[in-house]
Point group: C2
Chain length 582, copies 2
């Protein structure tokens, strides 16, 4: 060992002891007669102090040759510090060095290794090994480790078995795009990397494993949005002989354990909400319940006034922004531009100001009397000082846009506190969703999700109205997990594939092994998968998952540190029987 102690553990109880530390030079201050060195490792920072009147010229010389991030070994005596620093655990002591040994010098880092760095995203990613030295990033990954440990212990304690499923599997066109791997031994054939271990965990249920979990890498070759990664990690779980409630209760328990053990937060019983209700009240299947601002439907109150925009709209929906009646014209114009952006897609924004003095002013004063506006405010539960924001149009689009506006206003009003956690099960999702452009139904969750038995009779006549035994875990408006009770009957599974436009042959070719398995004694089963990266970033109070991943890829799917992907040796391509096509 190059050290007797870490840079985080020395305190007053070590005074007088001789120790050896090893770490990185965080900072040097040279005040002529005195030199202070802050030595850092994963565990903390310890101050080393040299004194011209005490230390040898050689020692002082070494100290003066040091730069930031040099790797240094220090042997010396622990002494009491004159001016104590109570912000760090080692603040009571400092080291009088006898020996300074430069284990490795360092070039000047391209950005500051401090909590607040001057490095931009690109530079930080290229030198990720330096970025990872920064406390906030390291703490994120320590949190991730802790969450993984807690999950594993908890599920182990509940009788779950972690089983590793294969990474080299088979490509299936349903769902997102697969990453594929050419097989050298089977020329012209390819493996695919799993988008999830879905079929394998179901086979483990057929195999009688009863309770399975795995913390597992999954892969999707999608065009990357801001916070997506081509490889991501799931907490993947499946149970046999369960109904929906059993899954919800089991993973409510797991989620509570995580919050308890990682954040010391005791979550109350999770709320539950139907998908239809969530869409109605919040315009979202993952409502942020840290604040109210619920949708208020006022179409009926707007009729007969001759305002064509509302009259021609399928729906008119309002939200009430508390204490915003003083919004200036400029602010309201800016908000109007905001909702008209293509990402939001509203045609315009109508407002009603309910002044603190009781006065009502609106952008549609021309069409609506104070008395009518009053009925809107009443239904929305507005109080003097509030501001009513109204969107209109096709119901689905209006809900979607108003959801965005609600979240935006919640953010502006400081109602989305990162230290507050509102947890919700959203249940009974539709089984299918019709995609106009493709002219067919797609599975809303995935093709293995079971319809609700009471809706089964609709499957031929109104497939779009069949609800699924599917559920999402939503925390603070973020989908943290999702799952379903699965189909375990061959005929129903075949029916599902046919609804999704599979020919019998395609279904057999791609999922024949699963349908066969259902004929050899498949138990009722269901499960859930949690987005591990996102769960960690939520627990860490961050918006982005990127700093909860040690070596993330950028938006072009590149690892700029190792410079990957890269071109291959022609010999490699030849061995794999493939050619790059311009």
């Amino acid at each position: 060992m190059y050290r007797s102690n870490t840079c985080g553990e020395l305190n007053a109880s070590f005074i007088g002891k001789k120790v050896t530390l090893a770490g990185w030079v965080q900072k040097i201050r040279d005040k002529g007669g005195l030199i202070w060195i802050d030595l850092r490792d994963r565990y903390g920072i310890t101050q080393v102090i040299l004194d011209e009147s005490r230390d040898s010229a050689e020692l002082l010389g070494i100290a003066r040759s040091l730069g930031r991030e040099f790797v240094l070994q220090v042997t010396g005596k622990v002494v009491e510090r004159e001016s104590k620093n109570d912000r760090i655990s080692t603040g009571e002591i400092e080291i009088y060095p006898e020996l300074l040994n430069v284990l490795n010098p360092a070039q000047l880092p391209p950005f500051l290794i401090e909590d607040e760095t001057d490095g931009g995203e690109d530079l930080r990613m290229k030198y990720r090994y330096l970025d990872l030295r920064r406390n906030p990033v390291r703490k994120n990954l320590e949190l991730r480790h802790r969450v993984g440990q807690v999950v594993r212990r908890h599920l182990d304690g509940q009788g779950f078995i972690e089983v590793e499923t294969p990474v080299l599997i088979k490509s299936t066109p349903e769902g997102a795009r697969d990453f594929v791997v050419p097989s050298r031994m089977n020329a012209g054939e390819f493996y695919a990397l799993p988008q999830s271990p879905q079929t394998f965990k179901q086979l483990l249920m057929v195999a009688g494993f009863d309770k399975y979990f795995q913390i597992v890498k999954c892969f999707r070759d999608e065009d990357l949005r801001a916070d997506r990664q081509p490889e991501f990690t799931q907490i993947d779980c499946e149970m046999s002989f369960v109904e929906q409630d059993d899954i919800l209760n089991t993973f409510e328990g797991m989620t509570k354990a995580i919050f308890q053990e990682v954040l010391e937060i005791e979550l109350p019983a999770f709320r539950r909400m139907q998908y239809a209700e969530a869409m109605q009240r919040f315009g979202s299947d993952k409502p942020d319940l840290r604040f109210g601002m619920e949708f208020c439907y006022i179409k009926d109150l707007t009729e007969g006034a001759g305002f064509p925009v509302f009259d021609n709209s399928e729906s008119v929906i309002a939200i009430n922004a508390s204490a915003c009646s003083e919004y200036t014209r400029k602010q309201l114009d800016e908000l109007t531009e905001w909702v008209k952006r293509p990402q939001i897609g509203a045609g315009g924004l109508v407002y009603v100001r309910f002044g603190a003095d009781g006065e009502i002013k609106s952008s549609v004063d021309k069409f609506y009397s104070k008395e009518v506006l009053q009925t809107w405010l009443e239904r929305a539960g507005s109080k003097p000082g509030d501001l009513l924001l109204i969107l209109c149009g096709n119901v689905d689009k209006t809900r979607k846009a108003l959801n965005e506006l609600r979240l935006e206003m919640g953010g502006r009003l400081g109602l989305r506190d990162k230290n507050k956690f509102e947890v919700l099960w959203v249940m009974d999702f539709p089984l299918l969703e019709y995609i106009e452009e493709e002219g067919r139904y797609f599975a809303m969750h995935h093709p293995f999700t079971s319809p609700k038995p009471e809706d089964l009779s609709l499957i031929d006549t109104e497939p779009g109205n069949v609800r699924a035994n599917a559920y999402d875990l939503v925390i603070n408006g973020v989908e943290i997990g999702g799952g379903s009770i699965r189909i375990f009957n061959r005929n129903l599974q075949a029916k599902m594939f046919s609804l999704l436009g599979f020919s019998d042959e395609e279904a057999r070719k791609q999922f024949g092994f699963l349908m066969d398995a259902f004929e050899y004694g498949a138990p009722p089963h269901g499960g859930i998968a949690f987005g591990f990266d996102r769960l960690c970033s939520l627990l860490g109070g961050a918006d982005s998952i990127r700093d909860f991943i040690a070596f993330p890829k950028n938006n072009s799917g590149r690892d700029v540190m190792i410079d990957s992907p890269s071109s291959l040796d022609p010999k490699q391509l030849q061995e794999l029987s493939i050619r790059v096509q311009a």
Copy 2:
């Protein structure tokens, strides 16, 4: 929940209670008046009994319609069994059913779901989900889960952080062949799947993570030998500010914890042996120390007798097979054929029988007197009743062949007891190994392994004689883990690449990020990786890793259950800018 209890938990304390069980029909016996159903789940087997004189025709009808592996829900009363079965935990009780509910019927399985099955390897793999129902296979995977949990808890307790490293990385030609993944977003470029997270864990040390581990999938596109898998799992570990001894002690601790917690075996302190000594005494860098039968070098005792085979050999080496002097001529001929097989490669086998009556007989009696043979026996420590087996030739080849013969004889003599564990650190491997066919040196461990400082002066003049700070953990003759202290200096790393035949440009292109990292404050570090599949199979007392992997691939790298790899849709290939080449 479809059940109130599992099929493994009911005992006398439940007598009189009403329970609901769900599981698979293991067996039905219909003795006319009585019908017994054995209901199985992961946790055990419970007997259900029907009686014509008690049960309704309907219930009896359902029972008689059942087949093996039907999924059945049973509600009924727990009663005391008349003839108890003390081999199973539920042997005190049985169930009088009130309700039998077939949750899913089952086709007759293609092989017996019993501890001893009649299914061949191919059939078992095609229906792996049925094979996994068998107790021995399920227990292997339960053991694997347990080992993973113990490792994680132990390393977490020692301050290690589990960090996930990326799966989509960069291809490097050194080492085994990579699996590659075409990048759609970066046309003509490829990711590679990691053969190990080696460079990433080293970067985590540069990042100050201090103690890292990961249980992680790795990939090698090699022609598969009997017990190799294209994807396999490692326990991958790295530490900073350590020397070789620190690593050995830390992972001796981990290994002991595994044996203690999984097998309740207290391992004694691990032996340590130099590579050179292991080769000298056992002809192997992974000697099986469950038995002796050490090499005995007798070249000097064979000289001057005019036996040209020995006279022309670089070495003559013997092993002593205890109590084998009664081997028949036929047995000895068979053993001679065995060593002459191309896999072993010996030219022939010389023996000396030391009869229980003291008589000495040998296949080289013509050349050697009893007195000379006596000197061989003495050096080998042979006792009356023993058999000396002798190979000769080039020293490396002879050691290699004699190692195989030693292991074979150990097996034949029952000296390789699966319930006995002999653990050994083999240390100080050569840094480089010269491969004749390639005309250059290769890294014996990998290019990041540090030479022993005391051998550094030989690196230009006698690179083949430089020893490395490298070590293997060997248990019962199986290499379970291997690692090294790493290079952490840019110049030494560059030197190493140049010894391995890399041009400066190749080294920079492939490993520039690592060499750069060494210039920004890299600490001394080292690590180890354990073969998780093999460790589990060793703990489970099996020779093959295949049944410790839930869904293994066959020797052609195929998953015959899901039929993968498979051909791709031409559209997929086009998106990836690749073409299959005949």
